[in-house]
Structure formats: structure tokens, C-alpha cells
């Protein structure tokens, strides 16, 4: 396989990979359409849907008014009406205006109707800080969403996942929320053709190791991989786990990693209190207690609305040196 695969291997960006995935889905299935603020003429706030209006027309690349609740709710209704909508919300902070629809309808209708009304909807949104956008465009609230039963929460962190997670997400009969970290859109990487079906439930070990498990997802993955390189230069052998799916959490992969390394650092750009990191740690304490050879460490954002000034924002966010220091504490 390798010869052919290597030939087909190419370099692309996270943004282009998302666009390719959407275009592919829309060509394959008439029921799929994209709607959101400025997805059409503008080409998407982050340029993800640039050029799609030209190919698919304004009915299927549908610009919406700035009415998050109405267009997310309309996505839910359209899904009930037989469509396979992709709804783009500009940032996770704005998604709060649609939280009623996401929680009270999308996540709830299947159960509340006794199984009659599945909602096959994909909602994409940008999350995270790092671009000096200040407190109303920078938060990482995916952990909140992961609290809600009835939805699936994905956080693609690589070009490969940006390209290949959408198709299974659209095939899922239930709502799927996809969180795209703003710092990743320009990231480029190698993209190989898909060789096996994508399992949305599974985390990925991005770097195998034996000394400490660095567990993270989304925008923190590149930082954690950099920290792992730094630690490796010191003779340590860290393992990096990319959760990919924040709900459901892949406990089997987490537990197997802890059983290998006996030390854990969870890295999460959300605030520490009540965070997804807290959930991961609690699960490890419940399931892997007798595997732990050091207290579990967390590297999270400071408990502050993300500030504008560069040095303040940097100080508020998990950084490579923080991850490396936490990892050293576990083995030190």
C-alpha cells in the first residue's frame, strides 16, 4: 500500500481540508447544505467556505442574518424535515445565543419524543484564543457542550481529522458539534488518502511513549507535541493522546495510556474549574487509581476572561513550557 499512498500524499491546510470535506459531502448528497453568517459571499469569516457559493449556489451555501438562535433552530428543523444541514457559527462565544436550540432542542428531541425524532445535524464553530481577539471571541467552551447528553462533540486537531471527520459526522443520526480551534486554520500538514473507516468514538495516540501521558485535544495538540519534543531532548519518553472526541470520551485509549506510563498531564485551553480536563482527571482517578505513580497534573487557562494584550493573553493560556514543567513534575 505504501508506495501508492505515498504518491497520493500531499500537503494541505486545515482550512482547505475542511472545505474539501464539505464540498465532497455536498457533491455526494443533495440533502447537505451549509448555512451561517457570511458563509456565502464573504466566503466564511475564516475563509473556510471560500468559493463554495460559486459551485453550489445561494440556496445551498446560505447566508443567514445575525440570528444564531433562529438559524441553528432552523438547522434542527431542516434536519427533522429530511435535510443534512451543516450550520456554521462564527465563534463559540456567539453559540451562546443559540444555546437554547442546541440544548433544549437538538440534544433533547430524540429522547423527549421517545425516540421518534433524531436530529442529523452538524454544527461547526470556531473556538479558542491566541489571536488577541479579547474576551468575547476567544473562549474555549467545548467542555460545556461535552457536558450535554444527546450530542456528540468533536475537536479535530490535525489536517487529517479536518478532512475526514465530517463525513461520518454527517452520517451520524444525532447532532454533532465540531470545534475548530482558530489557531489551526492556517496549519498545514500531510494528508494521505483515507485507508480505513473513521471511528468517531476513538482518541488517537499521536506520539507513543512510556514515561508520562500528555492528554489533550484541539488547539493545544501542537503545543503538547512541541512540549513532548522538548521532554524527549531531556531523555524522557512522553506519550501524547489526542482525544478528538470530547463526548463520548474514549476511556479505553486513556486508560491504556495511563497503564503504560502511570503519570498524567491533561492539557485543556478551557478554564480549570469544572473543565473537560477535570472530567478526564476524575475518570482517571475513578478507573486508573492503582496505575497512578504521581499526582495527576492539569494545565488549563488562567481563570480570567481572555485579555487582549499579547503578553497577558499568552500568560493566560497553556504554553509549551507549562506543559513540559507539569510533565517534569510528574516524573521528577
Amino acid at each position: 500500500m505504501s508506495g501508492e499512498a505515498e504518491r497520493a500524499m500531499r500537503t494541505t491546510t486545515y482550512r482547505e481540508a475542511l472545505r474539501e470535506a464539505m464540498s465532497e459531502a455536498m457533491r455526494a448528497d443533495d440533502r447537505v447544505f451549509l448555512m451561517g453568517e457570511d458563509v456565502g459571499r464573504y466566503g466564511g469569516c475564516f475563509g473556510v467556505s471560500l468559493g463554495m457559493l460559486e459551485e453550489f449556489g445561494p440556496e445551498r451555501i446560505r447566508d443567514t442574518p445575525l440570528s444564531e438562535s433562529a438559524f441553528v433552530g432552523a438547522g434542527i428543523g431542516a434536519a427533522l424535515g429530511g435535510m443534512r444541514p451543516i450550520v456554521e457559527i462564527m465563534t463559540v462565544n456567539f453559540s451562546l445565543l443559540a444555546l437554547d436550540q442546541i440544548l433544549n432542542n437538538a440534544a433533547t428531541l430524540l429522547h423527549m419524543s421517545g425516540g421518534q425524532l433524531p436530529v442529523p445535524l452538524v454544527i461547526r464553530m470556531t473556538t479558542g484564543a491566541g489571536r488577541q481577539l479579547a474576551a468575547q471571541h476567544s473562549h474555549s467552551l467545548e467542555g460545556w457542550y461535552a457536558h450535554i447528553p444527546g450530542i456528540r462533540v468533536l475537536a479535530p486537531a490535525t489536517v487529517e481529522d479536518a478532512r475526514y471527520l465530517l463525513a461520518p459526522a454527517l452520517a451520524d443520526p444525532d447532532p454533532v458539534l465540531v470545534f475548530e480551534h482558530g489557531s489551526l486554520y492556517n496549519a498545514s500538514g500531510e494528508l494521505a488518502p483515507l485507508t480505513e473507516p473513521v471511528d468517531l468514538d476513538r482518541a488517537r495516540v499521536r506520539r507513543p511513549g512510556t514515561d508520562v501521558s500528555l492528554i489533550t485535544y484541539g488547539g493545544c495538540l501542537p503545543k503538547v507535541l512541541a512540549a513532548a519534543d522538548e521532554l524527549a531532548a531531556d531523555g524522557l519518553d512522553p506519550e501524547v493522546v489526542d482525544l478528538r472526541s470530547l463526548r463520548p470520551l474514549d476511556e479505553a485509549t486513556i486508560d491504556a495510556s495511563v497503564a503504560r506510563t502511570h503519570r498524567v498531564v491533561v492539557v485543556d485551553e478551557g478554564w480549570r474549574t469544572g473543565s473537560l480536563a477535570a472530567e478526564v482527571c476524575a475518570g482517571i482517578a475513578e478507573r486508573c487509581f492503582y496505575d497512578l505513580d504521581a499526582p495527576v497534573e492539569r494545565v488549563c487557562s488562567a481563570e480570567v476572561p481572555i485579555p487582549y494584550a499579547r503578553q497577558l493573553e499568552e500568560a493566560a493560556l497553556p504554553q509549551v513550557r507549562d506543559v513540559a514543567a507539569a510533565a517534569r513534575r510528574t516524573v521528577g
Partner: protein, 338 residues
């Protein structure tokens, strides 16, 4: 069924009208008697949770449904018994749901406020005020994208006018010419707050019209008037003139919910509105027309009572959803790879 009966050849126009009136009367009585039984069962703790009654408002549900076909979709509110029954959701299924039984129309997971029937395109009672409106717009959008000549009808109350979701949806529906019928059941109170105490401009139809859609107000205590208005709106929507708004001015005779002491309304005001009871109004009309005898009314009452008795019996005996199935329907069952 009523349509068949009404168009049977060889009947005089008067007889047709009489048959139609009788259908309307039966449908309204069914809702009222059903809800009266609910009060009794609630008081006896057979059903629990929140129960919101539409007694006094039956003409809106019945009149609007006369204008809809089985292909059209309904989105309702937490005051949804009348809408569900008018839509044809079987009384036994609704009652079993109120009992929280496995045979309930939502499998016992919804209760009074969340009646669902996907087969009848009844997309449920939504208990977030205005929360059903965006969803209804989406159902209409799907029909538009697929070029289907179907209408989605969304019920909501006057309280929804204070919610952003109403205004967002009204704009979206008009902007996209969605085949959506917005029916505002204006019963003058958002729970306990009178309309003039929560809206600066109380002419709701005028405000809906400001979004660029056809909007009318109609006497919600007159079932025939509601039916006529709804037919006109649905015809307009099917003709492609975009969403229509109907404000049905109505009144609930009972408190907001079973737990409401009703302190915010004047008893005299309630009595005044009761004089316009849609059921009494229709029976008066039928009596005047000689369409209704005492015997016939008694027969209708008896039949409705028997239906409800049967529904209660069924609900009483229906199995409970096993606790082992608690986590069912949170996510869809996995699809076979094959």
C-alpha cells in the same frame, strides 16, 4: 372524514353546514372534556408534572387544523393537548403519555408538555417560550429546498413576542419566503403578566406585518372565523407568498397551570370572557339553525365521554417503561456497518 361527509352529493347546503358544525363541535368538546378529565386525574395524583390547559381556547386549535392536511407539519407549545387532539393524535396515546406510560405518544419521556407524533408530523410541545419557532422555520426551509408544497404551522402565545427567537424567526421566514404559518394564540397573559404589562405595542398582528409578511387578527373564540382565516392563510402560503401570521384573540378560562392561584385576573373578567365560550357559541348557532337537538348533543357528549373513558382505561393498564431502558433514546442506536 369530515371533508368526505361534507362533499357527499345530494345533500343540501344547510345539511352540509350542519355536518361541518357538528364536526367542529365534536372536536372542541373532545378537547374540553379531555382536559376536564385531566384536571380530575391530576387532582387525584394519577398524572403529575406541569399541566397547562387550553380550556376556552379550543376554537383556535380546531379551526386552524381544519385548514391543514396530513402532509403539513405542526409545532406546538407546552399548552399542547388541544393541538395534539385536533391533529388526530389518539386520545389513548396522549393520556398514556400524561400517565408516563410506555405506550404514551412520547414513550413516557415527555409528559403533558412534550407530546410528539412523528407519523402525524406533530413536532411536539416545546416548553421554552418561542423555542419552537426556529425549529418550525427549519421544517419549512426543508420543504422549500425540496420544492414540496407543504406548510408548517407553528403555535405560540403572546408571551413569545417578548423573546428574541420570535423576532429572529419572523425575519428569517419572511427573508427566505418560507412556507410557514405563524399562529399566535393571544390569550392576553404571559403566564400571570397581562399583555399591556409586557408589550409596549400590543397590536401583535401589526408588529408581525412589520417583518414583511401577511398578518391578520381573528376572533379566536369563533371557530368558524378561525377556520376561514387559517384557510385563507394556508392558501396564500401554498401559492408561494411566504409566511403568514395569524393572531387569534382568545382567553383561557382556567389558570395558567394546575398550580396557579390565578391572583392576577379579575373574576369578573373571566366571567365576561366565558360568555364568549366558543363551544356555547357554536351550539347556540346550531340551535338557531335547527342543526342540533338535545338528543344529538347528548349523544356527542356520550361518545366523547366513552372515548375518554377508554383512553383512561388504556392508560391505567398500560405498561410502564422499564427503568432498565432509562438511557434509551439519548443517542440513536448504532447503525449496522452493513
Amino acid at each position: 372524514m369530515s371533508a368526505e361527509r361534507a362533499t357527499r352529493p345530494g345533500r343540501t347546503a344547510a345539511a352540509k353546514a350542519g355536518g361541518h358544525h357538528q364536526d367542529l363541535l365534536t372536536a372542541m368538546l373532545r378537547i374540553r372534556r379531555f382536559e376536564e378529565r385531566c384536571v380530575e386525574l391530576y387532582s387525584g395524583a394519577r398524572i403529575r408534572g406541569f399541566v397547562h390547559l387550553c380550556i376556552g381556547e379550543e376554537a383556535v386549535a380546531v379551526g386552524v387544523h381544519r385548514a391543514l392536511t396530513p402532509q403539513d407539519a405542526i409545532v406546538s407549545t407546552y399548552r399542547d393537548h388541544g393541538h395534539a387532539l385536533a391533529r388526530g393524535v389518539p386520545e389513548a396515546d396522549v393520556m398514556a403519555e400524561m400517565y408516563g406510560r410506555a405506550t404514551g405518544c412520547s414513550g413516557g419521556r415527555g409528559g403533558s408538555m412534550h407530546l410528539f407524533d412523528a407519523e402525524r408530523r406533530f413536532y411536539g410541545g416545546n416548553a421554552i417560550v418561542a423555542g419552537g419557532l426556529p425549529l418550525a422555520a427549519g421544517l419549512a426551509l426543508a420543504d422549500r429546498l425540496c420544492d414540496r408544497s407543504r406548510v408548517t404551522c407553528c403555535f405560540f402565545g403572546d408571551g413569545a413576542f417578548a423573546e428574541g427567537e420570535f423576532h429572529e424567526t419572523a425575519n428569517l421566514a419572511a427573508l427566505w419566503d418560507l412556507p410557514l404559518l405563524l399562529v399566535c394564540e393571544n390569550n392576553l397573559y404571559a403566564m400571570g403578566t397581562a399583555l399591556p404589562r409586557h408589550q409596549a405595542q400590543t397590536d401583535l398582528a401589526a408588529r408581525a406585518a412589520s417583518y414583511g409578511m401577511v398578518a391578520w387578527a381573528v376572533d379566536g373564540m369563533d371557530v368558524e372565523a378561525v377556520e376561514r382565516a387559517a384557510r385563507r392563510a394556508v392558501e396564500g402560503i401554498r401559492a408561494g407568498t411566504g409566511p403568514h401570521f395569524l393572531e387569534a384573540r382568545t382567553y383561557r378560562f382556567r389558570a395558567h397551570s394546575m398550580y396557579d392561584p390565578d391572583r392576577y385576573r379579575d373574576k369578573a373578567e373571566i366571567e365576561e370572557w366565558k360568555k364568549r365560550d366558543p363551544i356555547a357559541r357554536l351550539t347556540d348557532l346550531m340551535n338557531e339553525n335547527g342543526e342540533l337537538t338535545k338528543k344529538r348533543l347528548a349523544r356527542i357528549e356520550r361518545e366523547v365521554a366513552e372515548e375518554i373513558d377508554a383512553a383512561v382505561r388504556e392508560a391505567e393498564q398500560a405498561p410502564e417503561e422499564p427503568v432498565a431502558d432509562l438511557l434509551r433514546h439519548v443517542t440513536s442506536p448504532p447503525v449496522d456497518a452493513a
